[in-house]
Symmetry: C2
Subunit: 315 residues, 2 copies
């Protein structure tokens, strides 16, 4: 336990090795990771969290890197978490790309971490959010969370950021169609990257048309920003819109509401996790396996079996 | 309750209106949907369930429709559930496409249902699996479950099918890269559709290379099948490979294992759901809201609050 407190103290003082170890503990579900998160909790809640999502190839990494560089110029410390659902045996690709971004990678004010799914997509969002807490507690002012796609993981991560940006390209017509519901749900604004390509104007129009159908519940109206991130074009506009959104949230007490809702979700999750662990003790697992054949043979139903298992659990 | 039993009896006798109503009950989380599922449970577990997934535009709908037609020729009854994460205001697109498939849509031996996420991606996989149970109980021999992408929802659905097919196209290079982990996890075999296009051979080679890295845990070796589904080319090969996989699962008792695992997951889910509902009564919700400010102000931690909430719940 002493050793653990040592790590958390080092994290709180911004030690990079300790931060990396802390995130690894979270990533590997180390038995002490929850205690670690408890110990650093009082220093969290300071960083502003920005989600950057969109289909593969949209240029999210470039935008993330340029945004990080822009914030650095303002003297802010920037943490980057890239949630990368690639496979274990080629999983280094994204990290490799980043290492080449020499404008930021040798900077002590930036901490970049790639979190891969390693063959299983479950639980990754939770781990990414916990990693953000570690960076938050370590004193990073801005946390950029980059994710691919808009599956459930991305929705979960978007629920844990203050501003969420969805990056598209002129070619993503099909994807816009397919991901619309998810996108509309999470985007505080859209970025149409590679806007120098054919079809950009049309893509902007389609997105605007969709946006016109719907105003966000909290009164903020999402817009579309055009960029050519590889040339640095439009990054200032993204940064400006994030500032506007942040100010909007702060003035309207939307930020407080967002963070409160986030905390409610988190406690729901903690309770769910704890109940699951407490419930499935050896005796109940055994009972389940002994009786599951009856259910499969149709002598009983899954609903009956669940009821029977639950019977003696609660007061 | 009488009315409900009426619906379930009609579902069991294959009445199409009752099937549609039953699925709507599940989709809308009708208060009696669980009772309905209980009443039909004893007739489930007969259908063979096939998952068809892949990126947008890969031709999944065409393959699904042609496969359905092929099974019909064998005299089998086919249910199709298309899980469609499009938005509410353009959500009819997929269903519209299907209606045009006149070779199967007037056939009483086919039941097609599109389930859209209607703005929220959560819970869709559970509902799709329950809809499959209804079709199963109604006497459909084959159930085709079509999903887009490989997010958590798709993994959940793949966990609930007997054979899972991942459909790609020569152009999905980027997607293959990004979705590799998820794909490897769920694919019993791959279909490279639109194989008459440039880059098909290279795409097959990339997939095979990835496949060579890994043998599925249960001993089955996934392969790649090339198709041009719009011209009906290769559909017979898909059907044949499904049969092989089915036979493999049956001979190796893999099917029994798969279905047992599926049932264990299902009971875990039922218990989780029930515990969540039982736990979050009015008193605890109130306690949470009263104390969450302390947590946000850092006078307490989410872990403490969760513990306090849990204290009086279990025996």
């Amino acid at each position: 336990m002493n050793h653990l407190s040592n790590i958390s103290n080092q994290i709180l003082s911004g030690n990079r090795v300790a931060i990396a170890r802390g995130i690894s503990m979270v990533e590997n579900e180390h038995q002490n990771s929850r205690l670690l998160l408890e110990e650093i909790y009082h220093k969290t809640g300071v960083a502003y969290r920005i989600g950057i999502t969109g289909p593969p190839g949209a240029g999210k990494s470039t935008i993330t890197n340029k945004l990080a560089a822009a914030y650095r110029k303002q003297g802010l410390k920037v943490g980057v978490i890239a949630v990368d659902p690639t496979s274990p045996f080629t999983g280094g690709a994204l990290l490799g790309d980043r290492v080449r971004m020499t404008d930021i990678d040798l900077d002590e004010g930036v901490f970049i971490r790639s979190m891969a799914s390693r063959g299983s997509l479950g639980g990754l969002s939770k781990k990414a959010i916990e990693a953000a807490d570690i960076l938050d507690a370590a004193g990073f002012d801005i946390i950029l969370m980059e994710t691919v796609g808009v599956g459930q993981s991305e929705l979960d991560i978007a629920g844990a950021t203050d501003t969420t940006i969805v990056v598209l390209v002129p070619e993503s017509g099909d994807s816009i169609q397919a991901m619309k519901a998810g996108l509309m749900e999470i985007a505080d604004f859209f970025v149409l990257n590679k806007s120098d390509r054919a079809g950009a104007d049309q893509a902007v129009m389609s997105i605007k048309m969709i946006l016109n159908f719907k105003t966000k519940k909290d009164g903020w109206q999402p817009d579309v920003i055009q960029t050519v991130a590889s040339e640095g074009k439009g990054i200032d506009k993204i940064e400006e819109t994030i500032s506007h959104h942040r100010k909007y949230l702060e003035d309207s007490s939307g930020l407080k509401g967002k963070r409160q809702k986030r905390m409610v979700n988190r406690i729901h999750e903690l309770v769910k996790e704890k109940l699951h662990i407490e419930f499935w003790n050896e005796a109940r697992e055994k009972y389940l396996l002994l009786n599951i054949e009856n259910v499969i043979r149709k002598d009983s139903t899954p609903y009956d079996l669940a009821e029977k298992l639950l019977q003696d659990f609660t007061k």
